[in-house]
């Protein structure tokens, strides 16, 4: 399961980087479809870590460590960022027709929101990876798991 989580995270990271430039990989159509799919991957990532989310949500104000709280807040921000990114992406999509959703607002607003949210989310992604670096090293078998505890 951990290996699956690791590869899923790796795919999300690579896809996120490729999606930062709409014309970096094939065409705009790829950018739009991959953007939608990465959203599903992100939800899958959350489902796989549902146990931790549940535990921290219940004990957020009582028994959690500061680190767990910080990670939780960061994850909430990441969720908000991804949601805004996908929503604004849908609003400005050119190759996929989402006009039936009638999101309203000016195209310029959605465009600026898409850029800003993706830039902020990438930075949050970097911080998220940094805080889970020990877990990554454990998966790569560079660092040993201490007392059966995983980061």
């Amino acid at each position: 399961m951990n290996l699956f989580k690791f590869f899923l995270s790796l795919i999300i990271t690579i896809a996120m980087l490729l999606l930062m430039d709409p014309r970096s990989f094939y065409s705009l159509a790829f950018h739009e479809w991959a953007g939608l799919i990465i959203g599903l991957f992100f939800i899958l990532h959350k489902i796989l870590n549902w146990g931790w989310i549940k535990k921290v949500t219940i004990g957020f104000f009582r028994k959690c460590t500061g680190r767990a709280r910080f990670n939780y807040v960061l994850d909430v921000l990441l969720l908000a960022g991804i949601t805004l990114m996908i929503l604004s992406g849908i609003a400005i999509a050119r190759t996929i027709d989402f006009s039936w959703l009638n999101l309203g607002g000016s195209r310029m607003f959605w465009r600026v929101l898409h850029t800003s949210s993706s830039f902020i989310t990438l930075a949050l992604f970097g911080i998220h990876l940094g805080l889970h670096w020990n877990w990554v090293l454990q998966r790569l078998k560079i660092k040993k798991v201490k007392n059966g505890k995983e980061n």
Binding site: L17, R23, S24, Y26, L28, F125, G126, I127, L131
Partner: protein, 187 residues
């Protein structure tokens, strides 16, 4: 020890490249643009293109505020200009001879440009049309290239820099916590 030092050097290198990429991409400006957005703001265009592009007004890619507030550059009256400048401007106007635009180029210039430029001149500046009948869809690369990760590497640099910063801050906090724990045990 050697391993630690090499990791430290690598981290510093990642940080430096990350900072360069951060300024190159105008990362901060583009991240916080949404907070200063108002529907009345004119569209500033993409980086390097149009007004406000990096290529036009320097590093920060911002509009010239004077231009935005309406204090546009006023063209001086011709009669108030010195004779030398008036002469020069007349010469400039002479260059925009409509005959030249329509392809009536002298033979000497035609030879200088060569056959390719000659073809372009006949076609006009905006040739348009399809390339081998295939054309180009929206968002596709002009040269038929499928992968172009030139910009992605800068994003990767920023991402890696944020990761390195988070790793070291996390390590620092762990160290502080450990030291505090030790002090409590001693007391």
């Amino acid at each position: 020890m050697v391993k630690r030092i090499s990791f430290l050097i690598l981290s510093v290198a990642i940080l430096v490249i990350g900072i360069i990429a951060f300024s190159k991409l105008s990362y901060w400006d583009r991240s916080v643009r949404i907070f200063s957005f108002s529907s009345a703001t004119p569209f500033e265009g993409r980086m390097g293109r149009g007004p406000g592009g990096r290529g036009e007004s320097g590093e920060d890619g911002r509009f010239n505020r004077q231009e935005r507030s309406g204090e546009r550059f006023a063209r001086p009256e011709m009669r108030n200009l010195p004779d030398s400048i008036r002469e020069r401007s007349r010469f400039g106007e002479g260059r925009q001879d409509p005959g030249m635009r329509e392809g009536n180029i002298p033979d000497s210039l035609r030879q200088q440009f060569g056959p390719r430029d000659e073809e372009r001149m006949e076609r006009g500046p905006f040739g348009g049309g399809m390339r081998n009948g295939e054309g180009r869809g929206r968002g596709e690369f002009p040269g038929g290239k499928k992968i172009n990760i030139r910009n992605v590497k800068w994003f990767l640099a920023v991402f890696a820099a944020f990761t390195v910063i988070a790793i070291y801050i996390d390590k620092a906090f762990c160290l502080i916590r450990k030291r505090k724990g030790k002090q409590k045990v001693i007391r």
